[in-house]
Symmetry: C2
Subunit: 184 residues, 2 copies
């Protein structure tokens, strides 16, 4: 690989609950040294859950990193490195919304921002939903409120800046595209 | 704000060149304490640059965080907190591709992954491009190779897993939607 950067030295700076911060000294293709700061992450899955009447289930939560509430599609971390993205998605949908789905379809997957983290996110569409009598409990340090939004309501959240993370912005454009395709 | 998390204590663990890693102790709405790991970031801008013959300009580079080459839309960090996203986009397009654009249109913006970082990305579409005689030099520790891809070529990169970061996956779906709209 022509642009390969060889790791000369790697130092783990901090191991947190969700992330590990490491600093690498790397050798560039031209022989020069450079520093790379890397946030290790277990990976995550997100769900685009559509109700039978064509609304989208969203969750509102406080995001400390941006010091603001954020309206997002349901999502969560893998419990273990070897948990499949689909299983993570199923668990998180139930934990955050109390719903299960009979229909699951893979939509896409991406690295959130590979300039500094290996966080990888898989996104699934969930439909044919039903409420669970006794759903999995939410994570202890998570407080989320469910919002079931029409197409126009979801775009209004976007316009107001209340909905502005990559996976959820992606989901809205994906929804727009789906609508275009079915009305053609 | 009902879900507000109060910062009880914040410790800056490491100040890097691109990111700062901090750890917070926060008080949850129920009074319990929790830890939040936060990566501070200056923000960035990305460009979806279309050539006159309807191809997309991409750049290939090595991404140390995922130990692999990655084909992405051009993008880069703000030089300063108060640099506008549009100016960042103009500078990065020229640095990474040698092109300038006469037409700039805002597409969207999002937090990459607000669960642990405040990185905010603005995305602009650039068209009516022209090559600059003496373009701005690339950043010293950056090695990028330009790829000008047709629609099918870009999706083939995606299918092969060579193109898989959030902003570029978004750009491909955006391109798909644009095509649907113009062929209706």
């Amino acid at each position: 690989m022509e642009f390969y950067e060889e790791t000369v030295e790697e130092t783990s700076i901090y191991k947190g609950n969700v992330t590990e911060y490491t600093v690498q000294k790397v050798k560039l293709p031209n022989g020069e040294l450079a520093q790379r700061e890397i946030v290790r992450h277990a990976g995550a899955a997100a769900i685009i859950p559509f109700t039978e009447d064509g609304r989208l289930i969203l969750v509102k939560q406080y995001r400390k990193a941006i010091e603001s509430e954020s309206i997002e599609i349901p999502a969560g971390l893998k419990d273990a490195d070897d948990e499949s993205g689909l299983n993570t998605a199923k668990r998180e949908l139930e934990e955050e919304t109390g719903y299960k789905a009979r229909q699951w379809d893979f939509v896409t997957s991406f690295y959130s921002t590979p300039g500094f983290t290996d966080e990888f996110l898989e996104i699934y569409e969930a439909s044919d939903l039903y409420l669970v009598d006794d759903p999995l409990p939410q994570d202890e340090d998570e407080n989320v409120e469910m919002i079931i939004a029409t197409y126009d309501e979801a775009w209004a959240f976007y316009e107001k800046g209340l909905l502005r993370d990559s996976k959820t912005v992606f989901a809205l454009f994906y929804w727009k595209m789906k609508k275009q395709m079915t009305t053609e």
